[in-house]
Symmetry: C2
Amino acid sequence: MKLLNKITEPTLLLDKGKCILNIRRMVQKAKRNNVHFRPHFKTHQSVEIGEWFRQEGVLSISVSSLKMAKYFAESGWDDITLAFPVNIREASQINELAGKINLNLLFIHPETVEFLDLFLENQVGGLIKIDTGYHRSGIPASDNKKVSKLWKIIRNSGNIRFKGLLAHTGQNYHASSKKEVVANYYNTLDQLQEVAGNISNDQDKIMISIGDTPSCSIVDDLSGVDEIRPGNFVFYDLMQYKLGSCRPDQVAVVMACPVVSVRKERNEVVIWGGAVHFSKEQILHENKIPSYGQVAELTKEGWKWTGGDEFLASVSQEHGIVKLAPEKITKIKPGDLLGIIPVHSCLTANLMKGYLTLDGKKIDHLSGTLEV
Amino acid sequence: MKLLNKITEPTLLLDKGKCILNIRRMVQKAKRNNVHFRPHFKTHQSVEIGEWFRQEGVLSISVSSLKMAKYFAESGWDDITLAFPVNIREASQINELAGKINLNLLFIHPETVEFLDLFLENQVGGLIKIDTGYHRSGIPASDNKKVSKLWKIIRNSGNIRFKGLLAHTGQNYHASSKKEVVANYYNTLDQLQEVAGNISNDQDKIMISIGDTPSCSIVDDLSGVDEIRPGNFVFYDLMQYKLGSCRPDQVAVVMACPVVSVRKERNEVVIWGGAVHFSKEQILHENKIPSYGQVAELTKEGWKWTGGDEFLASVSQEHGIVKLAPEKITKIKPGDLLGIIPVHSCLTANLMKGYLTLDGKKIDHLSGTLEV
């Protein structure tokens, strides 16, 4: 592709066609299962990619920060769940945004409900975060007393309308097989249904929201939940491929990195592409060696994964060291571009702060600025 | 400090006093050793912090990308070494910048010298990158033939003036003691002096540049080299402390992160502070558990490190899980701020894209935008 000739620096290429297919597939899966779809926009953080969701009929979203919520609210999204435990230091900004859109917040502690109920002038929705085994955050599903207490406090509050239960089956990222992902999903679902049954006699009215990409990609029958919130599926990545969430040809992003040195005697090339581009997220390659990405061949039509043992073996701030097959090392030279499938597309996109589509269009990404 | 009341989100606090002392100490060490000081600005990437160096008499700098070189050139820096293997895809931009300032580039391959010699209209300085054992990039110090060949090609070029030999003793980041850092430093120096002796009969004229913060902090007698290029010392961090490069009270940055959940039964708090703030750089805590940062207590005057077993035990995109001592866990609550000393200040600063000084002033950081 002529596009490649224009690239001078590490660049995150986006295949819009694959991306839209990923969106459409998940929209259809949600419809088929009669499940509400509230995709997580933390992966792409892009107003323009958000529009591709809107074109598929999506009306409500999840985000992971208030800044992200404001960013998408400004482009017309008016039903947003901030899927992160509420940060009461942002109470003023929460109140302001809640005056403009339907904003749902995550609660774990009675004191944050009580604080916001007094503080807010505008209503928000309230979800209870349940820990179903990931142990990152939330009330343990087994702690009926705590869940019931929080539920009652929310129900009795004036400014927080109870919306349901929310969990993230993050343990799926340690799963060793698709079977384990499916088992984790049903285990989460069972726990949430039990919690719902315990806090209310009228179980149908308690909304259950789950949200990881492995579950939503691998499990066929999602009929037991009310809402799904996957995010990563919009691009997928090497980690999702290893988990079984996607095929290689469904991964919609690749990094194009300039080769700056070739070390034939080590079967290595040095690329401009390091921790400030890929992050330091790693998976274990064969032989338990850390890998920061998989080599892909950049082609006229986009890219294709190369088979075999070619991967990004180490990253420092700007440098990456790529292991290549001996027959490749003799053909590559400084000034070439090398494609690398990132391990974790969310973190790579967050670092790159923008995309380039295969037809040469720049796509936006939220950029960070300090608010004090 | 009242400042803390204003903080609503993860914020990189900078102690300007400590930072200036770090700069001054390294300036004086270079002077004492009669060594040219060319600090690496990739750590702070800040025009304003650059001015603090200028006030201490610094006139020449190192950077790790052309974008960074342009950023600093715009604020008056006119002697810049791009301490990264030259990327010939940026030849036009290199030529443009070389027309405005003294720009030094790093060479490993004859073909990049030959390409740029033909392409450039403006002169650049050329350094040969030598690999003294880190094996990231450069010509192996033992490969006299390759070094001599490249040296001759540079010497015979019209647009590239030979400036010297450059190495980065990155193996120091795997050192297990100060003694090992010192040994690595002298080993690098020996190799560079031997290379210099081999390529020229007039050894005094071959400039030798080295540049890692552990060497420059720990080794007292730097008289054998001509130039030093440390960068991280401007802030230091947890990794440098563990290596023996600094004392805790010399670390000039800390992250202030909102607490969003407390899990007393696990001695854990959840902070807003994850991989998009700290990066995923880790060191091994006691018992070989990964640590992404060390807890510090935020005080009226700044912060102090807490002793003991309190650390950032895991990070996902926005979440951090912090292990706290049992006596602390009973006192902390959602809405509090927690201080975390980052493992790697370069990557944290690059993610945060700005600093807040203890007297409430915002400090700039280069922000990334895609150039196509």
